[in-house]
Symmetry: C2
Subunit: 169 residues, 2 copies
Amino acid sequence: MTKSLLKSIVLIVASSITILSCNNQKQDKMKTDDTVLTEIFLKGEKGSEDLFTGNAYNIGLVDADSTLTTAVGNVYFEPGARSNWHSHPAGQILIITDGVGYHQIEGKEIEIIKKGSVVKCPPNVRHWHGASADVGLQQLYIVPNTEKGIVNWNEAVTDEIYNSASKFQ
Amino acid sequence: MTKSLLKSIVLIVASSITILSCNNQKQDKMKTDDTVLTEIFLKGEKGSEDLFTGNAYNIGLVDADSTLTTAVGNVYFEPGARSNWHSHPAGQILIITDGVGYHQIEGKEIEIIKKGSVVKCPPNVRHWHGASADVGLQQLYIVPNTEKGIVNWNEAVTDEIYNSASKFQ
């Protein structure tokens, strides 16, 4: 092999490696974008295992007071994590800012919730909510009319119920 | 110039062009990421020029009703856009999900608000809010206790007041 041919081969290989690594970088970024959820707020504190199954992190954004009478916060649910059954004396609103999850009002079918979803739960109605099995959930909650109380916690959501959600996807 | 030298030069130039375009793509994406805001909801309807200066788009997420008594929506303010002065009979909460903007309660200094910011405005106090001059704002609003009324609109925010915000950045 002549020196010139060898030089040409080296440069062609170098160009190919550069082109390939350029493409791979773009693909890795897209793959990362698919699974990493947007974080708008600090993560907050891990929810008690008495109130949640799996890892859920809550940060309070607006504390209930006598003027605005509204509590607001964000919960990040890791995949598989969910709240226990619970109810709110004045109801609750959920705003989903990223990810995929489930919400169920007692007696009704599990609904799939995702980025952009808005959920309303009436007063004194038992419900639960959390992330899907594979993808986490970023969820804002709004509890209105807090002078009536904020939340009443009940039992954990069984795996049987939680796993049945997959049939709704 | 020999053929082999010419061939080498062509290949070096080709490699250089590939490497440079690869870097530029990464920079363009980063530049785009700096200025394109996350969209969680549909854009909604353009706000009336009687109520806003510049382009602001509102989508209602939760309509006021007698059960939850809370109105929730999202406003996307383009750079330079802001609401008129206005007040809420029961106050208002703002949750900023992306971008940079301004909020001012009458008589107080303009505050800079950005992704993750939480703003509380007391009942019957005049205020205005909107995007910064260069970057848009994605803003959720929560209006509690809607049985007292939702909003009372007033005059436009002057350029003099709006432009004075830049000194707080």
